[in-house]
Symmetry: C2
């Protein structure tokens, strides 16, 4: 086991005094990273020895909230004084937020398969089993809440179904009990783009194209209309549309940080996901975004209906569609404040 | 010039008597095919000598309706006794329909570029100019109507703008004054799939993948939910989703009949399209499909508003989205009957 711990700062009542000394996107919080090896019996891939990497931010005695994002997310939620690099959830984690690392201890992991070394079908149930083991390993009896977004919502539903004592409450944002068949088709074609690229050693070009198609499913026509309404140009005799620079950049950025195998196996994992939500016994807030092109509102409604009295639905409309969790931090924070209220921490 | 004419049948009052002798998808109609060479000054590609291939069905004296479809459409609308092979609009052309080749003379063309031999940017204005020339060549002073669907609607808008004497009325189905920026981005990525395939010496695989992504834009999540709600299978260690067989088949079918260059240049042509509809002086019925993922209702509404008193909007909701024109023949026919009424022919 390999723990990287940091000096523990006491956070003063007026936290801004210390924060003024740190870059804007860094919070002062007790932080540690670690990794844990487990022997997991995977649903489709049999017994495997796997490594689970995690990061914890926040004071040791505080209630623990696990935050899990999309397939591109990882264990580093936000820059802090131990690990100052920007996190994937920088805007939503911070002083005064529901996810305030001075008030709650935030746990996040790198998903199984995220390092690209597990080339096998990965089920959301496998992720949930690994998390249940990690919590036991870390001596965390129960999470105050599991906040899951996109793929993280699917993993949270599996954790609630398979290991209900692990969590007091689930917040499932932009994810449901099953992948929508249209979204599955969209992902299947993205994986075909990777396969096409791999034919002659242009794997990263295939991955870039896959990511660019994925971007269209994460965002909405409203946003594209707002940003890319210019006529196309003709460059070297070919038509080039206004959104292409943006999409190329998104593809290149993704390729630089994502192993091809990680992308393929986690994309598949979304499509393998199936949960009978009527068997879940954990209070669950389902957050749906109207206009989400991957998770239609109708699937979120079906999920809440299956949850019965344990389910609560919150709906918001955002031009960012599936990416609203990342792009609308104030509105998501307001929902999280309500969802986490009355669970033993300051709101 | 190369005319293939057929014997002219008089169509009896009880047409079913003769039709009973023909296969179900063949109508008895006077039909001819031809091709015409023109020197065209193209908007982006300069002066070119081009061939325009056309087919006419229906009696010589009847009012002429030009029917133009999507970028995959061609001059053969429906099987008839001269050319019995199935057409691309078999369901919507026939006895008792608005598009009845016993009552109207139906004209259709192969688009410029459709043979894959014109590897240059093609504007919808170029298509309109070629059609205006063809009408003159054929001695057709004025079309009773131009019925355009998808790309055909864009070409019809250009014809109405640039050559108003050519047509009495325009029916523009599932096409607007501009491509929507989100739809343009979607098409740009399809063209990148073709480019990626070409890099790998797998051009047809690239085209197949492009077509499969296009299918997702032509149809709707509702249809996919209805047809492909089965869980995925794991085949040779990879996840295969329920829609993949269908999409593979759609890709293969398309590749078999479409030159790569034709696809790329006509796809580009949609993105080059821009019309100032406030300058159009031809009565126009705009038909929009709610749930069309390529042409949002808001763009059809904007088009009708720009047309002012000359514009009429018809909206329908269909699980087939952009493909409703092809998949909902009865409902589309009802709209065409109204749109073409009172223009000198039997309804």
């Amino acid at each position: 086991m390999n723990f990287a711990t940091t000096a523990l700062h006491a956070v003063p009542a007026d936290a801004t005094a210390i924060e003024a000394l740190l870059p804007d996107d860094v919070v002062s919080a007790q932080s540690l990273r670690g990794e844990w090896t487990t022997d997991l019996s995977m649903r489709h891939a049999g017994a495997r020895r796997l490594l689970v990497r995690y990061e914890l931010q926040g004071p040791a005695g505080a209630p623990v909230v696990l935050v899990a994002g999309g397939i591109s997310a990882h264990r580093h939620l936000r820059g802090n004084d131990a690990f100052p690099e920007k996190g994937w959830l920088n805007e939503l984690v911070g002083t005064g937020r529901a996810l305030d690392p001075a008030q709650r201890r935030l746990l996040a992991i790198d998903y199984l398969g995220a390092d690209g070394r597990l080339d096998a079908p990965i089920d959301t149930a496998d992720q949930a089993d690994a998390i249940a083991g990690l919590l036991q390993h870390l001596g965390i009896g129960q999470l105050q809440a599991f906040v899951g977004y996109s793929y993280g919502a699917l993993v949270g539903l599996q954790l609630a179904l398979r290991h209900p004592p692990c969590l007091q409450r689930l917040v499932a944002v932009s994810g449901a009990h099953r992948p929508h068949p249209f979204a599955s088709a969209w992902r299947a074609l993205q994986r075909k783009a990777v396969t096409l690229g791999a034919l002659q050693c242009a794997e990263t070009q295939g991955l870039s194209l896959a990511r660019q198609f994925a971007m269209l499913s994460y965002r909405t026509p409203e946003e594209f209309e707002e940003r890319f309404d210019a006529p196309p140009e003709i460059i070297n005799g070919r038509v080039r549309c206004a959104a292409e620079d943006y999409l190329d950049a998104a593809g290149a950025q993704y390729v630089a940080r994502t192993p091809v195998t990680a992308y393929v196996r986690l994309s598949e994992s979304i499509d393998l996901h199936r949960v009978d939500a009527s068997q879940i016994r954990v209070p669950t807030t389902v957050v749906a975004v109207e206009g989400d092109r991957l998770v239609p509102l109708s699937d979120s409604v079906a999920l809440v209906e299956a949850l019965g009295t344990l389910g609560t639905l919150r709906v918001l409309r955002s031009p960012y569609g599936h990416d609203a969790f990342l792009k609308e931090p104030d509105r998501i924070d307001a929902i999280l404040v309500t969802a986490l209220r009355g669970n033993g921490a300051n709101p």
